[in-house]
């Protein structure tokens, strides 16, 4: 299914092979400087007229040595760097890393901290999904309107982030064994306000676009990802669920307090761009439910496990893999601690957008060049995470 591009297949465009009018194929390098590659990402497309006959994703323009840096740094020192992986979802990145370290060090997280984490993660999901849809529609050519509506809502969530953690995007909020700052009642009220207000935004958003014939025609049956391919390629997150793979770590692992919360996992059947769009809308609606439950149930208590030291934090030798259901898919951190235990011996990130990106060619070939950017938009990548 997934063939390496060194394979000769995509480029052997011998005349007469496909039977249509022989046109000269055009090799177009979309990116690294392009309005809709969502960063410095390049797609080497071979076009036959407007149709894509081969596509090679080229990554690494934003490589920042994340893993090696972390291996030369104290455990805590990597926490702000995880913010910069997927800069839209720093909260969930923090959580995944904290979860991995907590597993490795055997730290118990207080209940309140778990609830705070759930609240933050679901807010992040709302933020990410609304913006992804906005970006995707931007790629579709809806000239920024949906994107700016999404940004308007994102602003409220970011304001809450800033009030809580001090920064809008680079939150650096989670700590091993809890969170850095406790949520005040005022913060909780803001979160509640967001949770009540968001459905209204979603309704407006859907009215703007879900039934829009142009959108339907552009997205349905475009970039289909079959279920088998999704499973084989290790796709996770909304993309896998849009293809009908019932895989949500919140249900599978029940990490944090997700076991106590009630929510459903929407599934698509076809796995095209429209499914990926609509699954995200439905997931946002579920996230709001989770938020409301978490805000209702959040207990009083400490926000961080008191025994965890900030400095000279050491972990006994061993390895551990912590993963969460990030907005983009399964975000995992694999950590190995060795003698001394002051820094990770090995630090590996399983970035969802990178792995989801690997099947870009399989989804794009045969479609028009205009679809490529939409399919890329529906994959939902952040180059900070892809290239690390």
């Amino acid at each position: 299914m997934i063939q390496p591009l060194t394979d000769a297949k995509p480029y052997t465009l011998t005349p007469g092979s496909n039977g249509v009018i022989e046109t000269q194929t055009l090799e177009v390098s979309i990116g690294p400087q392009h309005p809709s590659t969502h960063g410095v990402f390049r797609m080497d497309c071979v076009l036959d007229g407007e149709s894509v006959v081969a596509l090679k994703p080229v990554m690494g323009y934003l490589h920042r040595n994340h893993e090696q840096l972390a291996e030369r740094m104290a455990w805590l020192g990597s926490m702000p760097y995880t913010d910069r992986l997927d800069y839209f979802n720093s909260m969930t990145n923090n959580w995944a890393y904290a979860l991995a370290v907590e597993k490795l060090a055997g730290i118990k997280v207080p209940d309140r901290a778990e609830y705070i984490r759930v609240i933050m993660a679901e807010l992040t999901r709302l933020l990410n999904h609304s913006c992804v849809i906005g970006f995707m529609l931007q790629d579709l050519g809806a000239w920024g309107t949906p994107l700016l509506y999404a940004f308007r809502e994102r602003e409220r969530i970011l304001d809450l982030y800033e009030a809580v953690s001090g920064s809008r995007m680079m939150c650096n909020y989670m700590r091993f064994g809890g969170v850095r700052v406790n949520l005040t009642d005022e913060n909780l009220a803001t979160a509640k306000d967001i949770a009540t207000r968001f459905p209204r935004f979603l309704d407006e958003f859907e009215k703007l676009l879900t039934n829009n014939e142009v959108l339907l025609a552009r997205t349905q049956r475009v970039g289909v990802l079959p279920k088998e391919l999704a499973i084989n390629a290790g796709i996770s997150g909304p993309m896998a669920r849009a293809s009908g793979v019932d895989y949500d770590l919140r249900k599978v692992d029940k990490y944090g307090v997700y076991g106590r919360l009630e929510f459903r996992v929407p599934l698509g059947d076809i796995g095209d761009v429209y499914d990926r769009y609509y699954i995200r809308v439905l997931e946002m609606r579920e996230s709001i439910k989770i938020l409301q439950q978490a805000l209702r149930d959040i207990p009083q208590g400490p926000h961080i496990a008191p025994e965890v030291k900030l400095r000279n934090f050491k972990i006994p030798p061993g390895d551990g893999y912590g993963r969460i259901e990030g907005p983009k898919g399964e975000l995992g951190f694999y950590l190995v601690s060795d003698e001394g235990g002051k820094q990770p011996y090995r630090y590996h990130v399983r970035p969802p957008s990178f792995i989801n990106l690997t099947i870009l060619e399989d989804m794009c070939v045969g479609h028009k060049v205009a679809d490529v950017v939409v399919i890329l938009g529906s994959v939902d990548i952040v180059l900070g995470e892809v290239d690390r």
Binding site: P15, G16, E22
Partner: protein, 103 residues
């Protein structure tokens, strides 16, 4: 000096010769087609010139011009389709290389 029919006839004869030259001497099938278009236009110009200078009252010349333009359009469509078909077959649109009648 007033512009007379003479001038137009000379002009169109000249254009016709240019078109013929292009159609006969260039290798590229598309240029050959373009030469034919030039010849067509020269002919149509003749019609219109005669209409203007002599048969002003009747529309026959204009009708001829209209029909000629239509036919030229049809001809170029077919011609270019043929060029594309030939190109697909020979990977070339050089008229010199189209030697066989067999498809």
């Amino acid at each position: 000096m007033n512009v007379s029919l003479d001038h137009y006839l000379m002009l169109s004869a000249f254009l016709f010769a240019i078109g013929l030259c292009g159609a006969l001497s260039r290798k590229n099938a598309i240029i050959v087609l373009m030469g034919i278009e030039i010849m067509f236009n020269a002919g149509i110009l003749n019609f219109v010139a005669f209409w203007h200078y002599k048969y002003f009252a009747v529309l026959t010349a204009q009708m001829f011009a209209i029909f000629a333009i239509s036919i030229a359009a049809a001809e170029s469509a077919i011609g270019l389709a043929l060029v594309i078909a030939v190109y697909r077959h020979y990977q070339s649109i050089d008229v010199d290389e189209m030697r066989s009648l067999k498809g």
